[in-house]
Symmetry: C2
Subunit: 216 residues, 2 copies
DNA sequence: AACGAACCGTACCGTACGGTACGCCTGCGG
DNA sequence: CCGCAGGCGTACCGTACGGTACGGTTCGTT
């Protein structure tokens, strides 16, 4: 159970999804408040049903994170005719999606849950969150970057390095500060600046990896 | 108790420091294993003493994190005669310090503990970790950056933005992946690449903010 | 020597929570 | 109409852990 990571969407009945929704709500409202009793009460079901469906508490947690993380599907960017303007818009869109997801309350909750989980020799949740968060973006961004390089619009040796630089330029210290509960970073504040941050990060990315850049 | 954040180094007796060391060891070994009984046994002291010294479990946790985080004192960089080479060495040193700290087992543990804590309406640990981690670097880096600007070696409008870009270029996705327990990032692997990453990040930082850079 | 403070070890209490058992209701196939 | 499977609600059990109490020991002070 702990070792089987079902990457594909598990097929949950509507009733089960209602239970998962209740569990997620409890997680968001009160991070550690995910007790089986609380979920049962919130979802109006019996604890016995929870155990029948999800095995144990960890199974319920995993199902919740898995199910919710998989819902974070960012819009696919058009990849045809890669002129400079289209490429820039694509990059900006990725930056915007990444920042929007990361600053969302659900994402913060899932990441906190996974980090907490990772602090106890359990890493399955961390893998799930990674797989559906940064790595999902990476999988979709890399082909765009490489297409940009093929079109002589970008210049880099390793698309992995380019991706990680992009991640750093966009995320900066926002995620860790949100995870640590930095009050100075109210989400409204961050959200209000997303557009400016997106533009700045994209500018910097092109300054480093644009074809005309003077990087080694 | 919960509201008083003692920024200055609390003066702990050697015996108390031994207790805090035991607590930290337990945290590192087994993230959630910080039970009062375990600490008392490890430190060969009585639980009653723990409660007398630290008030309650949260007090012990706070004292441990506070005490340990404050120990992360990165070497001060020479700020005199800022020629281009000295500035670059300083920046590199900051990058190296930041990466070294972040990838350390103690830092990972403290950050995980603080994130877990933040998931429960408690934010004091997060503040402590932030204050002694990223913000400590920021406090010491900003003057250097501004001195570099005064010396016409760097060009930027906001030193805050410059710092955050520096943070992103150096940290990238390393910290969040370590916090989530990404096995693909064994620490030895990261540590082995620190020097290369330091150089790359510094190159990129100067490409963006160096006086000869073509940034707006 | 006598006293008391600090502290260790351990036993103890109350509670919270994971997990299980059981009685009851509802809906559906024969 | 009967039986039964699925599921709800609740009661229950065992354990782990935070927090307290207490007897015994060491050590410094007078």
């Amino acid at each position: 159970m702990a070792l089987t990571i079902k990457v594909n969407e598990e097929t949950f009945t509507p009733r089960q999804q209602a239970v998962l929704t209740a569990a997620l709500d409890l997680l968001v409202e009160n991070g550690d408040g995910l007790t089986m009793t609380a979920v049962a009460r919130r979802a109006s079901c019996s604890k016995e049903t929870l155990y029948k469906w999800f095995g144990d508490r960890d199974g319920l947690l995993t199902a919740t994170v898995q199910w919710q993380a998989a819902k974070v599907r960012m819009p696919v960017v058009d990849r045809s005719h890669l002129n400079a303007k289209a490429l820039r818009l694509s990059i900006e869109q990725f930056a915007r999606d990444l920042l929007t997801v990361i600053t969302g309350e659900v994402s913060i909750t899932l990441n906190r849950t996974a980090v907490t989980h990772a602090a106890q020799e359990k890493d399955s949740l961390g893998i799930i969150v990674l797989e559906n968060g940064p790595l999902a973006i990476r999988r979709r961004l890399k082909p765009i970057l490489e297409a940009g390089r093929d079109a002589r619009l970008l210049r880099f040796d390793s698309s992995e390095d380019a991706y990680r630089t992009f991640f750093g330029l966009v995320v900066r210290d926002v995620q860790i500060r949100l995870l640590l509960g930095d009050k100075a970073l109210t989400q409204t504040n961050v959200v209000a600046n997303i557009e400016a941050d997106v533009k700045a990060a994209t500018d910097q990315f092109f300054a480093l990896y644009g074809a005309k850049a003077n990087n080694p």
